[in-house]
């Protein structure tokens, strides 16, 4: 998983049936010092995250697990909203 910040939303029409009702959010991956890391990605949201929130997301097939039994065609998914983190 990686830390990220939600920076926007994506709305589809003519979407694949299995994506119906799935919120798609733009996520900027960040480091633990809040610096952007790499490119913004589109992630399926299963935890009700909103723009501006810090989240963590999973990459790969596992991104679709929260929507089981629907086989959502996603390769990135937000699976938690981050309250805070501490660097030791």
């Amino acid at each position: 998983m990686q830390l990220g910040r939600v920076v926007g939303t994506v709305v589809l029409n003519n979407q694949n049936d299995t994506l119906t009702g799935v919120a798609l959010l733009l996520v900027q991956p960040i480091s633990s010092t809040r610096e952007p890391v790499g490119r913004v990605i589109v992630a399926a949201d299963s935890v009700g995250a909103g723009v501006g929130e810090h989240v963590f997301f999973v990459r790969g097939k596992e991104a679709s697990f929260p929507f089981y039994p629907t086989e959502v065609p996603a390769d990135a998914g937000i699976v938690g909203i981050v309250d805070h983190w501490d660097i030791g």
């Binding site: 998983m1 830390l3 097939k61 697990f65 983190w85």
Partner: protein
């Protein structure tokens, strides 16, 4: 699997139910020379690791899920061991 150093802890109240009870740790992947390699990752802890420890990370969903004793948890990285030593005869 990769070697990494635990650098921090993450607190998340609102998360997928299969992640409830899982400890989330920030880890920095390492080279064999113990220098940072690539960006930080977030991993679930399946080995009781703490900040500063060198750990073994599995980067595959099913195995990561197994490491926290859950079926089909939406995770892609897990700590599966604390490293005592790495021996690389030259």
């Amino acid at each position: 699997m990769i070697l990494a150093r635990v650098t921090g802890t993450v607190v998340s109240t609102q998360k997928h139910r299969k992640l409830e009870g899982a400890k989330l740790l920030l880890v920095q992947p390492l080279t064999l020379e113990d220098t940072p390699r690539g960006g930080e990752l977030l991993a679930v802890d399946g080995a009781g690791a703490g900040v500063g420890e060198k750990v073994l990370i599995v980067l595959e969903g099913r195995s990561a899920s197994d490491a926290i004793g859950k079926k089909a948890a939406p995770v892609d990285a897990a700590i599966v061991g604390i490293v005592d030593a790495v021996d690389l005869p030259s």
